[in-house]
Amino acid sequence: MTRKLDPRTKVFLLIVINVVMMTGKISGVFFYVRLAMVAIPFIIMLKNRMYSGAGIYAAMYTYVFVLEGYTMVSMNRVLLTVILFTTGLVSRFLAGGMMAYIVMKTTTVSEFVTAMERMHVPKVIVIPFAVMFRFFPTIKEEWEDIRNAMKMRGIGAGSGSIMQKLEYVTVPMAMSVSKIADELSAASMTKCLSVKGKRTHIAKVGFSWQDLLFSAIAIAGLVMHIFYGGAITG
């Protein structure tokens, strides 16, 4: 039995959370549906020992839910809009964002590729997708490096037009990115990605009772959402 959640389950959970949180209703029984969706990333975070993240996450959602509960009662209209807007933003995006973060943080590239190949997704889709997954944190690193370099040369927020600033950021970014691309493809050579034929995998990927449990919660939420929540299914 594997201890970690299967990548397929994680991606499925991510989709369900986003669908329910972004477009679902809030009041009535749907509060509990949302609560279940919010709880999923929290539990996974605890499971993966990301305690501080889980704490902040829980605190923010408590705050948001309490405020949403209160402001349904009559209140100054302008204030209401401001509060609802901020809480609305947080409650809509935080769960999905957190789940996406968890997917990226806890899934190694080899696990992801293995899972996708089990689903018989063609290689031309799997490899770019895996690279993408891996690449978001790299972009952040590069971005910080470029910012530092700019600061060192005294190019701050105040100097230059917007166009110039765009140029200052994109050009070094493009340079380093194309170098990274070369390095990555050299690395993939050593992993024999370009060899034809069936590859074997060392990463253990499989479903366990945990996957079943989380998927059951997600499917229940999704069913509620589609049949009673007036979901946007077209």
Binding site: I15, N18, T81, L84, G88, S91, S188
Partner: protein
Amino acid sequence: MSKRLDVKDLINIGIYTAIHFLCIFIFAMLGFIPQIFVFAGVFEGFVGAIPIMIFLTKAKKPGMLTIMGILLGVITVIMGRPWQALIFAVVAGVISDIVWKLGNYKSPKAAVIVCGTMMLWMGGMGLPLFFSFRDNYLSSLEEGYGPDYVEVIKSLTPDWMFFVMIIIAVVGGLLGGLFAKRLLHKHFEKAGMTE
């Protein structure tokens, strides 16, 4: 040069799709300000065009832009948009691929047009606001963001606005393409980064 995609091409697709998506995503946040909600597409297109332009200097084989479209579509669906969004992205990819092929994978004019056509995938992002999805989405927004915000959004987005928003995004892409072309010429061709 072989026409088959090798691993290097696939890695390039992944990387530039990631950057393109991130650029768009950051500027999509502008869309929460109702007054510039409609025009956010220009900024998204403009900035998003830069990675595409650089990607085009490396995309010399058929199918690469289609794969990029498929990836973008999958991300939009993962982000909770209706599955029809996938169609928009794939169509955007295929159209871009055809245009790029007609430009022999090197014509600068075709590159600028591709920057525009690629932005068609943004149609999928805005989809929940329109057509049969509209009422449910707005009512859910009303509970979430308050009635005032929804009033503004509602008045801004009759159904025809969907097409206007796509066109705006495409125009943004074209402008961004022109800007990126100049950038490319100034920095990359001189440095010998492009063939």
